[in-house]
Amino acid sequence: MATITEECLRNIEAIIVNKKRILQRREDLFSYSFDASFGTHLPELVLQPISTDEVVGVVKLANLYKIPLYPRGRGTSLSGGPLPVNGGIVLDFSLWKDKLIIDPDDSIAVVSPGVLTADINAKANEFGFMYPPDPSSAHVSTIGGNLAENSGGPRGLKYGVTKDYVIGLEVVTPEGEIIRTGGRTIKNVTGYDLTKLIVGSEGTLGIITEAILKLIPKPIATKTALVLFDDLVDSGHAISRILSSGILPSKMEIMDQACIIAVEEYKPLGLPTDVEAILLIELDGHPYSIEEEMKKVKSTCLAVGAREVIVAENDEEANELWKARKLVSPAIVKIKPTKISEDATVPRSKIPDMFKKLKEIKETHDINLVVFGHAGDGNLHPNIIADQRDTEEMKRVELAVEEIFKAAIELGGTLSGEHGIGIMKSPFMEMELGTKGLEMMKRIKMAWDPNNILNPGKVFPEPGQRLVLHNG
């Protein structure tokens, strides 16, 4: 492990002049040793930069002294993205939120890396626009983190994910140079698309210091329905039928029976616990057209065997219907405290098969597994509920998670739809990408970051690395 010498620290103090943004006390280091996944990894130092110049200075120093750098937004990553696994310096960008400019004429937003994603959307709304990517963590996660993880949310079905809304970036390269990618225009084919390369690179190829985001007009109205299914397979059919009938809902979320039971036991909403699945569907657009579309959605669901379709008459009723989905998280942790949230994704048509697989995995490994998530785009969230203090159980969970990844890939899907690879999923990269595929990615990393300074230990597996799900 590299150590930060006195001399190095003095150089840092010349770059980050305000000492309040240089954290070295033990309680501070421990406070940046975790994210929303697993593990405690102590950094040697935490810095809170608020300008590109500070970043450039620190990155150059890090190259000189060979100190690993770990960019961090608000530490809500579910895959270990910001964990300082090799010690070194954590760069906390949460204070850097001075720029949030909406330019209605170009329909873009220009933002600093530490701005909260929900704040961008709220500000865009004031101008009649929206910033569509809506990870459920949008009110606590930073745009920098979202860009690095290429985050998505329920609206991804209709509007796409973070990468579909980034048109330009300012990036500090792993060697400390400033580059600009893309620009303020939607169309841009000048050279390689480095913007897209940086988005989703999980802080391993560059530090994002500013982003230009595309905005779209905000839909006038929304309409929500809650659909009950006696048979899970029918819900899968309903999804495909709706999507092939010319309707593109803004959200399509599914909850399985285990979720419904957990919610009812936690806060009874009067949901029937004998159905196998609940589908929540939201349409957005002009009030007249969504009225018509909703009729079609209703008849389609009933035609494939839905037990009941409840359509909200107003926003208040819609909020009531969404409550069921919102209560899933608090409800399931009542069963056991540790939640392992996976996001393996399969092609839409394979959703029923994936559900079958998950049921088998649950039974073979005797684990608590519930499934909810973004059904419309195949991004299911199988969540395993366990107790991390029970090492025997956690071993079973680790095996189950491995099988979930395998199942998703076998069905033509992917390891991660939105949470990223980090350290959690790196052991499985080769399984999905093949040796050559992974090697091409490594070559990119080596070309960009010859000293392996930025976020080392992530995305690419260390030899012999396995999935570990416990804190230690």
């Binding site: 006390r25 033990r26 406070s31 940046y32 405690t40 909260l116 606590v140 009542k334 540790t338 203090r389």
Partner: protein, 429 residues
Amino acid sequence: MDKQTILLDKLAYNETVNCVQCGYCLPSCPTYATFGKETHSPRGRINLVKMAAEGRISLDDLAGPMDVCLGCRACEPACPTNVQYGKILESAIDVLTEQRRRKQSLKEKAMKKLIFDYMIPNKNVLHFIGSGLQLYQTLKIDDFSRKIGFTNILPEPMRQFEKITPKVNVKKRKHSAIQPDTSPRFRIGFFVGCIMDTFFKRINDLSMKLLAAAGCEVVLIAEQTCCGALHHHSGEKEKAISLAKHNIEAFEKYQFDYVVNSIGGCGAAMVEYHLLFDEADRWYPRAELFSDKCKDISFILDQLELPFKMEIQKTVTYQPSCHLKNVQKVEKEPVRLIEKIPGISYIPHKNMNMCCGSAGIYNIVHFEESMEILNLKMENISKIKPEIIITTNPGCHLQMLLGVEREGLRDEIRAVHLVELLAEACDIS
């Protein structure tokens, strides 16, 4: 048991394990917003308590971040997985206090004993200090604090507080009952609170009159004592328990529908009295019964008709008491009451749910931190240019007065307790 096992047992370790570190509580935390460090966030503190329980950091490492926590508990309603932060904080404070007690000098011990065992629960002493405070407004305050041995914490805060300390009414009240004109809707035992009844006695009087005007029978019993909140939050749990027992016993003797108070902080301590006891303890069910009856005045008035007589043509904003909102879960009632006042124009300020930094005696012990938090609050309040800031707790009330004073807005903005404004609109004085 070795030292570490004892610590694991005493700290609320199991509660810390329930935290999934999602960070959903971060935006609600005033110290995180102010200091911008994970170390001063709920998630950070929970992790530090966990690390201390596992022996990975020392209690000295833990002390700073826990001391700076306001205990406002805004992080609890924000948590999607219901982590019991209150319990975690309390366990940490207990452990830290015990450690400090061992290290404390005899003089410090005596001082603490004087404050918590004698001064706060004792109205006469508080009255004395209260009337004294007026006197000290004309004297050199440094002199005073040096004399009572507070020099390390008091001078600067005292100088600022001195400006805003309300006139103290030292006249004693006859303990009695007020009957409404019609047959009473509720029979109410009124809880006055010790600090409240010293500095804001008038608000207690107005509260009782308002309750009566709304059709309640209001009884003031002499046997009541301090709620024990300050003791509890300072790790003096034994004393807190004995005060709780005293109050439970005192009010049990009467057949009240509710025990009502106008003090967000005291009310919060009382609705959680049962948590002071083990579930198997015979005091637990008694405490629970008492806690169920304890209500904030806004909860009661919200259900009744108030005889409004005057229009108040003012722009107002509301600074919710954290303990009223996050612990007593009384959030909508005060706002509904404000909106009922004829003529009023109510505007919520940005981040209104964020603590003002008063938090018990936080603003005295952590003066600088508290002022940074207050600055953030005043920035949001000043933006909407209210003529009146409404509060529901004496601590917040004083802090708002201080905020207004520090911003130089004394002539433009008034800070009042909700009860004062309601009374004004009902022409009660």
